[in-house]
Amino acid sequence: MQSIPIPKVVVPFAPEQASTFAPHVDALYAYLIALTALFTLGITAAIIFFAVKYRRRQAGELPRPVHGSMVLELTWTVIPLLISMTIFVWSASIFFKAYRAPREAMEVYVVGKQWMWKFQHQTGQREINELHVPVGARVKLTMTTEDVIHSFYVPAFRIKQDVVPGRYLQTWFEATKAGKYYLFCTEYCGTNHSGMGGYVYVMEPAAYQQWLAGGTGTESAASQGQKLFQERGCASCHQVEPAGQQGRGPSLYGIFGKQQAIEGGGSVTVDESYIRESILNPQARLAAGFQNIMPTYQGQLSEEQVLQLVAYIRSLGQAEAGAAAAGSAPGTTTTGPTTGGVPPQQQRANPIGPTSERQGSPAPQAAPAGGANAGNANRP
Protein backbone atom coordinates (compact mmCIF):
# COMPACT_ATOMS: atom_id res chain seq x y z
CA MET A 1 0.00 0.00 0.00
CA GLN A 2 1.38 3.34 -1.02
CA SER A 3 2.00 5.56 1.93
CA ILE A 4 1.33 9.25 1.82
CA PRO A 5 4.10 11.56 2.98
CA ILE A 6 3.29 13.28 6.21
CA PRO A 7 2.68 16.95 5.60
CA LYS A 8 4.69 19.37 7.67
CA VAL A 9 1.99 21.86 8.48
CA VAL A 10 1.72 23.48 11.84
CA VAL A 11 -1.39 25.48 12.45
CA PRO A 12 -1.75 27.97 15.28
CA PHE A 13 -4.20 27.29 18.09
CA ALA A 14 -3.99 23.57 17.64
CA PRO A 15 -3.24 20.90 20.17
CA GLU A 16 0.02 19.06 19.87
CA GLN A 17 0.40 16.74 16.92
CA ALA A 18 0.95 13.51 18.74
CA SER A 19 -0.30 10.87 16.37
CA THR A 20 0.32 9.85 12.79
CA PHE A 21 -3.17 11.07 12.10
CA ALA A 22 -2.73 14.60 13.42
CA PRO A 23 -0.57 16.16 10.70
CA HIS A 24 -3.01 15.05 8.02
CA VAL A 25 -5.93 16.61 9.80
CA ASP A 26 -4.00 19.79 10.41
CA ALA A 27 -2.98 20.04 6.79
CA LEU A 28 -6.57 19.73 5.66
CA TYR A 29 -7.51 22.30 8.26
CA ALA A 30 -4.94 24.70 6.90
CA TYR A 31 -6.28 24.21 3.40
CA LEU A 32 -9.79 24.98 4.55
CA ILE A 33 -8.66 28.03 6.45
CA ALA A 34 -6.98 29.31 3.32
CA LEU A 35 -10.16 28.77 1.33
CA THR A 36 -12.30 30.43 3.95
CA ALA A 37 -9.97 33.39 4.13
CA LEU A 38 -9.97 33.65 0.37
CA PHE A 39 -13.74 33.70 0.05
CA THR A 40 -14.51 35.72 3.14
CA LEU A 41 -11.91 38.37 2.48
CA GLY A 42 -12.82 38.48 -1.18
CA ILE A 43 -16.49 39.00 -0.49
CA THR A 44 -15.88 41.43 2.33
CA ALA A 45 -13.50 43.44 0.19
CA ALA A 46 -16.02 43.54 -2.64
CA ILE A 47 -18.81 44.65 -0.32
CA ILE A 48 -16.71 47.39 1.26
CA PHE A 49 -15.49 48.54 -2.12
CA PHE A 50 -19.01 48.68 -3.55
CA ALA A 51 -20.41 50.28 -0.44
CA VAL A 52 -17.92 53.09 -0.77
CA LYS A 53 -17.71 53.44 -4.52
CA TYR A 54 -21.42 53.18 -5.20
CA ARG A 55 -22.70 54.82 -2.05
CA ARG A 56 -25.85 56.79 -2.51
CA ARG A 57 -24.96 60.33 -3.40
CA GLN A 58 -28.37 61.78 -4.05
CA ALA A 59 -31.63 60.88 -2.44
CA GLY A 60 -33.54 60.22 -5.63
CA GLU A 61 -30.80 58.34 -7.40
CA LEU A 62 -31.81 55.36 -9.53
CA PRO A 63 -29.09 53.08 -10.84
CA ARG A 64 -29.40 51.20 -14.07
CA PRO A 65 -30.76 47.73 -13.48
CA VAL A 66 -28.56 44.74 -14.21
CA HIS A 67 -30.52 41.53 -14.41
CA GLY A 68 -27.85 38.90 -14.39
CA SER A 69 -25.35 37.00 -16.39
CA MET A 70 -25.45 33.35 -17.27
CA VAL A 71 -21.68 33.18 -17.56
CA LEU A 72 -21.15 34.54 -14.09
CA GLU A 73 -23.80 32.28 -12.59
CA LEU A 74 -22.20 29.24 -14.11
CA THR A 75 -18.78 30.35 -12.97
CA TRP A 76 -19.75 30.72 -9.39
CA THR A 77 -21.68 27.52 -9.37
CA VAL A 78 -19.05 25.35 -10.97
CA ILE A 79 -15.92 26.71 -9.31
CA PRO A 80 -17.17 26.32 -5.71
CA LEU A 81 -18.44 22.88 -6.65
CA LEU A 82 -15.03 21.84 -7.92
CA ILE A 83 -13.32 23.33 -4.91
CA SER A 84 -15.62 21.58 -2.52
CA MET A 85 -15.00 18.30 -4.30
CA THR A 86 -11.29 18.66 -3.58
CA ILE A 87 -12.16 19.02 0.08
CA PHE A 88 -14.40 16.01 -0.09
CA VAL A 89 -11.83 13.74 -1.68
CA TRP A 90 -9.08 14.79 0.66
CA SER A 91 -11.17 14.53 3.80
CA ALA A 92 -12.76 11.26 2.79
CA SER A 93 -9.38 9.67 2.18
CA ILE A 94 -8.27 10.62 5.67
CA PHE A 95 -11.52 9.32 7.12
CA PHE A 96 -11.37 6.08 5.25
CA LYS A 97 -7.91 5.33 6.49
CA ALA A 98 -8.71 6.43 9.98
CA TYR A 99 -11.32 3.71 10.12
CA ARG A 100 -9.13 0.99 8.72
CA ALA A 101 -7.74 -0.36 11.90
CA PRO A 102 -4.48 -2.17 11.34
CA ARG A 103 -4.61 -5.88 11.79
CA GLU A 104 -1.42 -5.95 13.70
CA ALA A 105 -1.85 -3.84 16.76
CA MET A 106 -1.66 -3.71 20.46
CA GLU A 107 -5.19 -4.04 21.73
CA VAL A 108 -6.81 -2.31 24.61
CA TYR A 109 -10.36 -2.81 25.78
CA VAL A 110 -12.25 0.30 26.77
CA VAL A 111 -15.48 0.53 28.67
CA GLY A 112 -17.20 3.85 29.15
CA LYS A 113 -19.41 4.27 32.16
CA GLN A 114 -21.02 7.27 33.76
CA TRP A 115 -18.55 8.99 34.32
CA MET A 116 -15.27 7.23 33.83
CA TRP A 117 -13.24 5.42 31.27
CA LYS A 118 -12.01 1.95 32.13
CA PHE A 119 -9.14 0.42 30.24
CA GLN A 120 -7.96 -3.12 30.18
CA HIS A 121 -4.69 -4.09 28.57
CA GLN A 122 -4.26 -7.53 27.14
CA THR A 123 -1.36 -7.90 29.51
CA GLY A 124 -3.67 -7.47 32.42
CA GLN A 125 -3.15 -3.91 33.53
CA ARG A 126 -6.33 -2.15 34.31
CA GLU A 127 -6.64 1.58 34.46
CA ILE A 128 -9.30 4.12 35.10
CA ASN A 129 -9.23 7.48 33.31
CA GLU A 130 -5.61 6.91 32.41
CA LEU A 131 -4.21 5.08 29.51
CA HIS A 132 -0.54 4.23 29.13
CA VAL A 133 0.72 3.41 25.69
CA PRO A 134 4.14 3.19 24.14
CA VAL A 135 5.20 5.64 21.53
CA GLY A 136 5.23 4.30 18.00
CA ALA A 137 2.94 1.35 18.57
CA ARG A 138 -0.34 1.02 16.85
CA VAL A 139 -2.98 0.80 19.46
CA LYS A 140 -6.38 -0.55 18.67
CA LEU A 141 -9.19 0.21 21.06
CA THR A 142 -12.21 -2.04 21.26
CA MET A 143 -14.80 -0.04 23.06
CA THR A 144 -18.23 -0.27 24.55
CA THR A 145 -20.27 1.32 27.28
CA GLU A 146 -22.20 0.15 30.28
CA ASP A 147 -24.90 2.77 30.09
CA VAL A 148 -25.34 5.74 27.77
CA ILE A 149 -23.46 6.93 24.73
CA HIS A 150 -20.05 8.42 25.43
CA SER A 151 -17.35 9.51 23.07
CA PHE A 152 -13.66 8.83 23.31
CA TYR A 153 -11.67 11.88 22.29
CA VAL A 154 -7.96 12.63 22.42
CA PRO A 155 -7.40 16.04 20.82
CA ALA A 156 -3.69 15.54 20.42
CA PHE A 157 -4.35 12.40 18.38
CA ARG A 158 -7.28 13.98 16.46
CA ILE A 159 -9.34 10.88 17.07
CA LYS A 160 -12.81 10.51 18.39
CA GLN A 161 -15.29 7.68 18.47
CA ASP A 162 -18.68 7.38 20.08
CA VAL A 163 -19.36 4.29 22.09
CA VAL A 164 -22.86 2.91 21.87
CA PRO A 165 -24.51 0.58 24.34
CA GLY A 166 -24.83 -2.95 23.05
CA ARG A 167 -22.11 -2.61 20.46
CA TYR A 168 -18.37 -2.98 20.14
CA LEU A 169 -16.72 -0.16 18.24
CA GLN A 170 -13.14 0.32 17.36
CA THR A 171 -10.73 3.10 16.79
CA TRP A 172 -7.00 3.16 16.63
CA PHE A 173 -3.98 5.45 16.74
CA GLU A 174 -0.25 5.47 16.62
CA ALA A 175 1.28 7.95 19.01
CA THR A 176 4.34 9.73 17.72
CA LYS A 177 5.43 11.77 20.66
CA ALA A 178 5.90 10.91 24.30
CA GLY A 179 3.86 13.05 26.61
CA LYS A 180 0.69 13.44 28.58
CA TYR A 181 -2.42 14.25 26.60
CA TYR A 182 -5.99 15.08 27.42
CA LEU A 183 -8.65 12.48 27.13
CA PHE A 184 -12.21 13.80 26.99
CA CYS A 185 -15.69 12.43 26.75
CA THR A 186 -17.37 14.36 23.99
CA GLU A 187 -20.83 12.94 23.90
CA TYR A 188 -23.07 14.45 26.46
CA CYS A 189 -23.73 11.74 29.04
CA GLY A 190 -25.27 13.35 32.06
CA THR A 191 -24.35 15.20 35.19
CA ASN A 192 -20.63 14.75 35.25
CA HIS A 193 -20.01 14.72 31.52
CA SER A 194 -17.35 17.39 31.77
CA GLY A 195 -15.54 15.40 34.43
CA MET A 196 -15.39 12.23 32.41
CA GLY A 197 -11.87 12.34 31.15
CA GLY A 198 -8.28 11.89 32.01
CA TYR A 199 -4.98 11.50 30.32
CA VAL A 200 -3.29 9.38 27.82
CA TYR A 201 0.34 8.85 28.72
CA VAL A 202 2.52 8.16 25.75
CA MET A 203 5.81 6.66 26.91
CA GLU A 204 9.09 5.76 25.38
CA PRO A 205 9.28 1.97 25.00
CA ALA A 206 11.71 1.53 27.82
CA ALA A 207 9.66 3.58 30.20
CA TYR A 208 6.59 1.73 29.10
CA GLN A 209 8.26 -1.58 29.87
CA GLN A 210 9.00 -0.30 33.30
CA TRP A 211 5.44 0.79 33.76
CA LEU A 212 4.27 -2.62 32.69
CA ALA A 213 6.53 -4.32 35.17
CA GLY A 214 5.61 -2.06 38.04
CA GLY A 215 1.94 -2.16 37.32
CA THR A 216 -0.63 -3.69 39.58
CA GLY A 217 -2.88 -6.56 38.50
CA THR A 218 -0.56 -8.14 35.99
CA GLU A 219 -2.94 -10.93 35.38
CA SER A 220 -3.84 -10.81 31.73
CA ALA A 221 -7.32 -10.11 30.50
CA ALA A 222 -7.49 -13.59 29.08
CA SER A 223 -6.58 -15.29 32.30
CA GLN A 224 -9.07 -13.19 34.18
CA GLY A 225 -11.55 -14.34 31.60
CA GLN A 226 -10.48 -17.88 32.20
CA LYS A 227 -11.25 -17.54 35.89
CA LEU A 228 -14.68 -16.22 35.10
CA PHE A 229 -15.14 -19.08 32.69
CA GLN A 230 -14.66 -21.50 35.52
CA GLU A 231 -16.56 -19.56 38.15
CA ARG A 232 -19.63 -18.94 36.04
CA GLY A 233 -19.95 -22.52 35.02
CA CYS A 234 -19.25 -22.04 31.35
CA ALA A 235 -16.87 -24.92 31.54
CA SER A 236 -19.69 -27.28 32.41
CA CYS A 237 -20.96 -27.03 28.89
CA HIS A 238 -18.05 -25.83 26.80
CA GLN A 239 -14.83 -27.62 25.96
CA VAL A 240 -11.74 -25.51 25.57
CA GLU A 241 -9.17 -28.15 24.68
CA PRO A 242 -7.99 -28.73 21.14
CA ALA A 243 -9.02 -32.36 21.09
CA GLY A 244 -12.09 -31.89 23.20
CA GLN A 245 -15.29 -33.34 21.93
CA GLN A 246 -18.45 -31.26 21.91
CA GLY A 247 -20.23 -30.97 25.23
CA ARG A 248 -23.69 -29.67 25.63
CA GLY A 249 -22.41 -26.52 24.03
CA PRO A 250 -19.96 -26.22 21.18
CA SER A 251 -16.28 -26.40 21.84
CA LEU A 252 -14.86 -22.94 22.02
CA TYR A 253 -11.38 -23.96 21.06
CA GLY A 254 -10.05 -21.92 18.17
CA ILE A 255 -13.41 -20.59 17.12
CA PHE A 256 -12.33 -16.98 16.97
CA GLY A 257 -12.27 -15.68 13.43
CA LYS A 258 -13.93 -18.80 12.05
CA GLN A 259 -17.24 -19.01 10.30
CA GLN A 260 -19.90 -20.44 12.56
CA ALA A 261 -22.93 -22.04 10.97
CA ILE A 262 -26.18 -20.75 12.40
CA GLU A 263 -29.24 -22.80 13.18
CA GLY A 264 -31.78 -22.04 10.52
CA GLY A 265 -29.28 -21.19 7.83
CA GLY A 266 -26.47 -18.78 7.21
CA SER A 267 -23.26 -18.31 9.07
CA VAL A 268 -21.47 -15.67 11.00
CA THR A 269 -17.87 -14.75 11.60
CA VAL A 270 -16.99 -15.26 15.22
CA ASP A 271 -15.74 -11.88 16.33
CA GLU A 272 -15.95 -9.86 19.51
CA SER A 273 -19.52 -8.76 18.81
CA TYR A 274 -20.69 -12.30 18.17
CA ILE A 275 -19.11 -13.67 21.31
CA ARG A 276 -20.62 -10.88 23.33
CA GLU A 277 -23.98 -11.63 21.84
CA SER A 278 -23.59 -15.34 22.52
CA ILE A 279 -22.99 -14.64 26.17
CA LEU A 280 -25.65 -11.99 26.74
CA ASN A 281 -28.25 -13.10 24.25
CA PRO A 282 -27.50 -16.74 23.50
CA GLN A 283 -30.83 -17.43 21.84
CA ALA A 284 -30.32 -14.73 19.23
CA ARG A 285 -28.19 -16.84 16.91
CA LEU A 286 -27.81 -20.48 17.78
CA ALA A 287 -24.81 -22.46 16.72
CA ALA A 288 -26.07 -25.06 14.29
CA GLY A 289 -26.80 -28.43 15.84
CA PHE A 290 -27.22 -27.24 19.40
CA GLN A 291 -30.15 -26.77 21.70
CA ASN A 292 -31.27 -23.44 23.00
CA ILE A 293 -30.19 -24.22 26.54
CA MET A 294 -27.48 -21.74 27.28
CA PRO A 295 -28.70 -19.32 29.93
CA THR A 296 -28.41 -15.60 29.31
CA TYR A 297 -25.84 -13.74 31.32
CA GLN A 298 -27.48 -10.39 30.72
CA GLY A 299 -27.28 -8.35 33.88
CA GLN A 300 -24.96 -10.82 35.56
CA LEU A 301 -21.73 -9.81 33.94
CA SER A 302 -20.41 -6.30 33.60
CA GLU A 303 -19.22 -5.13 30.22
CA GLU A 304 -15.68 -5.45 31.53
CA GLN A 305 -16.18 -9.05 32.50
CA VAL A 306 -17.71 -9.79 29.15
CA LEU A 307 -14.63 -8.32 27.55
CA GLN A 308 -12.44 -10.56 29.69
CA LEU A 309 -14.39 -13.59 28.59
CA VAL A 310 -14.05 -12.41 25.02
CA ALA A 311 -10.32 -12.08 25.50
CA TYR A 312 -10.15 -15.57 26.91
CA ILE A 313 -12.20 -17.23 24.19
CA ARG A 314 -10.18 -15.34 21.66
CA SER A 315 -6.97 -16.62 23.11
CA LEU A 316 -8.02 -20.26 22.86
CA GLY A 317 -6.01 -21.87 20.15
CA GLN A 318 -4.81 -18.63 18.69
CA ALA A 319 -1.15 -19.56 18.57
CA GLU A 320 -1.86 -22.79 16.75
CA ALA A 321 -4.33 -21.09 14.42
CA GLY A 322 -1.72 -18.53 13.54
CA ALA A 323 0.84 -21.17 12.85
CA ALA A 324 -1.66 -23.05 10.78
CA ALA A 325 -2.47 -19.99 8.75
CA ALA A 326 1.18 -19.43 8.09
CA GLY A 327 1.50 -23.00 7.03
CA SER A 328 -1.68 -22.63 5.02
CA ALA A 329 -3.44 -25.56 6.58
CA PRO A 330 -6.85 -26.09 5.05
CA GLY A 331 -9.94 -24.87 6.78
CA THR A 332 -8.33 -22.33 9.00
CA THR A 333 -8.84 -19.16 7.06
CA THR A 334 -9.04 -16.33 9.46
CA THR A 335 -11.29 -13.55 8.36
CA GLY A 336 -11.68 -11.59 11.54
CA PRO A 337 -8.99 -9.46 13.05
CA THR A 338 -6.32 -11.60 14.59
CA THR A 339 -3.31 -10.76 16.57
CA GLY A 340 -0.74 -13.44 16.54
CA GLY A 341 0.99 -15.17 13.74
CA VAL A 342 0.00 -13.14 10.73
CA PRO A 343 2.91 -13.34 8.35
CA PRO A 344 4.61 -10.02 7.69
CA GLN A 345 3.66 -9.79 4.05
CA GLN A 346 0.02 -9.92 5.06
CA GLN A 347 0.29 -7.12 7.55
CA ARG A 348 -1.34 -3.98 6.40
CA ALA A 349 0.81 -0.95 6.16
CA ASN A 350 -0.05 1.95 8.36
CA PRO A 351 -2.84 3.57 6.39
CA ILE A 352 -1.85 7.06 7.34
CA GLY A 353 1.80 6.64 6.57
CA PRO A 354 5.09 6.10 8.27
CA THR A 355 6.27 8.46 10.89
CA SER A 356 9.49 7.01 12.06
CA GLU A 357 11.92 4.23 11.59
CA ARG A 358 9.71 2.19 13.83
CA GLN A 359 7.53 1.50 10.86
CA GLY A 360 7.70 -2.11 9.88
CA SER A 361 7.89 -3.39 13.39
CA PRO A 362 4.40 -2.51 14.39
CA ALA A 363 4.41 -4.48 17.56
CA PRO A 364 7.57 -3.40 19.26
CA GLN A 365 9.02 -5.34 22.08
CA ALA A 366 7.23 -2.97 24.35
CA ALA A 367 3.86 -4.29 23.38
CA PRO A 368 3.50 -8.00 23.87
CA ALA A 369 1.06 -8.30 21.09
CA GLY A 370 -2.39 -9.23 22.10
CA GLY A 371 -3.90 -12.19 23.77
CA ALA A 372 -1.97 -14.86 21.94
CA ASN A 373 1.07 -14.99 24.18
CA ALA A 374 -0.88 -14.10 27.22
CA GLY A 375 -3.34 -16.84 26.59
CA ASN A 376 -0.63 -19.42 26.17
CA ALA A 377 1.27 -18.31 29.16
CA ASN A 378 -1.72 -18.78 31.33
CA ARG A 379 -2.97 -22.01 29.96
CA PRO A 380 -2.95 -24.50 32.81
Binding site: A101, V164, R167, L169, N281
Partner: protein
Protein backbone atom coordinates in the same frame (compact mmCIF):
# COMPACT_ATOMS: atom_id res chain seq x y z
CA UNK B 1 -67.88 24.00 -11.20
CA UNK B 2 -64.88 22.68 -12.92
CA UNK B 3 -64.55 19.59 -10.82
CA UNK B 4 -64.91 16.21 -12.34
CA UNK B 5 -67.66 13.99 -11.06
CA UNK B 6 -66.71 10.35 -10.97
CA UNK B 7 -69.60 8.05 -11.86
CA UNK B 8 -70.78 5.74 -9.13
CA UNK B 9 -70.04 2.68 -11.20
CA UNK B 10 -66.34 3.53 -11.05
CA UNK B 11 -66.45 3.55 -7.28
CA UNK B 12 -68.09 0.15 -7.18
CA UNK B 13 -65.54 -1.25 -9.57
CA UNK B 14 -62.66 0.09 -7.54
CA UNK B 15 -64.20 -1.29 -4.39
CA UNK B 16 -64.49 -4.70 -6.01
CA UNK B 17 -60.89 -4.58 -7.14
CA UNK B 18 -59.72 -3.64 -3.66
CA UNK B 19 -61.55 -6.54 -2.08
CA UNK B 20 -60.18 -8.94 -4.65
CA UNK B 21 -56.67 -7.68 -4.11
CA UNK B 22 -57.05 -8.10 -0.38
CA UNK B 23 -57.97 -11.70 -0.97
CA UNK B 24 -55.04 -12.11 -3.31
CA UNK B 25 -52.55 -10.72 -0.82
CA UNK B 26 -53.85 -13.04 1.90
CA UNK B 27 -53.62 -15.98 -0.44
CA UNK B 28 -50.14 -15.02 -1.58
CA UNK B 29 -48.94 -14.79 1.99
CA UNK B 30 -49.50 -18.51 2.40
CA UNK B 31 -47.02 -19.31 -0.33
CA UNK B 32 -43.35 -18.95 0.22
CA UNK B 33 -41.78 -16.96 -2.58
CA UNK B 34 -38.52 -16.78 -0.69
CA UNK B 35 -36.97 -13.36 -0.92
CA UNK B 36 -39.84 -12.26 -3.15
CA UNK B 37 -42.40 -12.50 -0.33
CA UNK B 38 -42.18 -8.86 0.53
CA UNK B 39 -41.99 -7.79 -3.05
CA UNK B 40 -45.24 -9.57 -3.81
CA UNK B 41 -46.99 -8.19 -0.74
CA UNK B 42 -45.80 -4.67 -1.37
CA UNK B 43 -46.66 -4.75 -5.05
CA UNK B 44 -50.23 -5.62 -4.17
CA UNK B 45 -50.36 -2.98 -1.45
CA UNK B 46 -49.02 -0.32 -3.81
CA UNK B 47 -51.60 -1.30 -6.41
CA UNK B 48 -54.36 -0.96 -3.88
CA UNK B 49 -53.02 2.38 -2.78
CA UNK B 50 -52.92 3.61 -6.35
CA UNK B 51 -56.55 2.65 -6.82
CA UNK B 52 -57.58 4.56 -3.73
CA UNK B 53 -55.46 7.55 -4.67
CA UNK B 54 -56.50 7.78 -8.27
CA UNK B 55 -60.22 7.14 -7.94
CA UNK B 56 -61.45 7.54 -4.39
CA UNK B 57 -59.21 10.53 -3.89
CA UNK B 58 -59.79 11.85 -7.41
CA UNK B 59 -56.11 12.35 -8.16
CA UNK B 60 -56.69 11.07 -11.64
CA UNK B 61 -58.92 14.04 -12.36
CA UNK B 62 -56.94 16.60 -10.40
CA UNK B 63 -54.63 19.39 -11.39
CA UNK B 64 -50.92 18.95 -12.05
CA UNK B 65 -50.23 20.58 -8.73
CA UNK B 66 -51.94 17.77 -6.85
CA UNK B 67 -49.92 15.26 -8.81
CA UNK B 68 -46.78 17.08 -7.81
CA UNK B 69 -47.76 17.00 -4.16
CA UNK B 70 -48.53 13.30 -4.28
CA UNK B 71 -45.28 12.59 -6.06
CA UNK B 72 -43.27 14.66 -3.66
CA UNK B 73 -44.67 13.02 -0.56
CA UNK B 74 -43.52 9.67 -1.86
CA UNK B 75 -40.21 11.14 -2.86
CA UNK B 76 -39.55 12.45 0.64
CA UNK B 77 -40.72 9.26 2.27
CA UNK B 78 -38.30 7.34 0.11
CA UNK B 79 -35.47 9.69 1.04
CA UNK B 80 -36.19 9.01 4.69
CA UNK B 81 -36.28 5.26 4.27
CA UNK B 82 -33.57 4.75 1.71
CA UNK B 83 -30.90 7.06 3.01
CA UNK B 84 -31.25 5.68 6.52
CA UNK B 85 -31.00 2.18 5.17
CA UNK B 86 -27.73 3.02 3.42
CA UNK B 87 -26.32 3.21 6.90
CA UNK B 88 -27.76 -0.07 8.14
CA UNK B 89 -27.05 -1.94 4.95
CA UNK B 90 -23.38 -1.00 4.82
CA UNK B 91 -22.45 -1.09 8.48
CA UNK B 92 -20.46 -4.29 8.37
CA UNK B 93 -18.89 -3.77 4.97
CA UNK B 94 -15.87 -2.27 6.51
CA UNK B 95 -15.04 -5.23 8.67
CA UNK B 96 -16.21 -6.38 12.02
CA UNK B 97 -16.87 -3.80 14.70
CA UNK B 98 -15.89 -0.86 12.56
CA UNK B 99 -18.95 1.26 12.41
CA UNK B 100 -20.28 -1.76 14.18
CA UNK B 101 -23.37 -3.80 13.64
CA UNK B 102 -26.14 -3.92 16.12
CA UNK B 103 -25.94 -6.41 18.85
CA UNK B 104 -28.84 -8.73 18.47
Amino acid sequence: MSEHIVPRSTYYLVFGALIVLTAVTVAAANFDFGPMNDVVAMTIAVTKMMLVLLFFMHVRYSSRLIWVIVASMFFWLIILLLLTLTDYASRDWFGANVGGIMSR
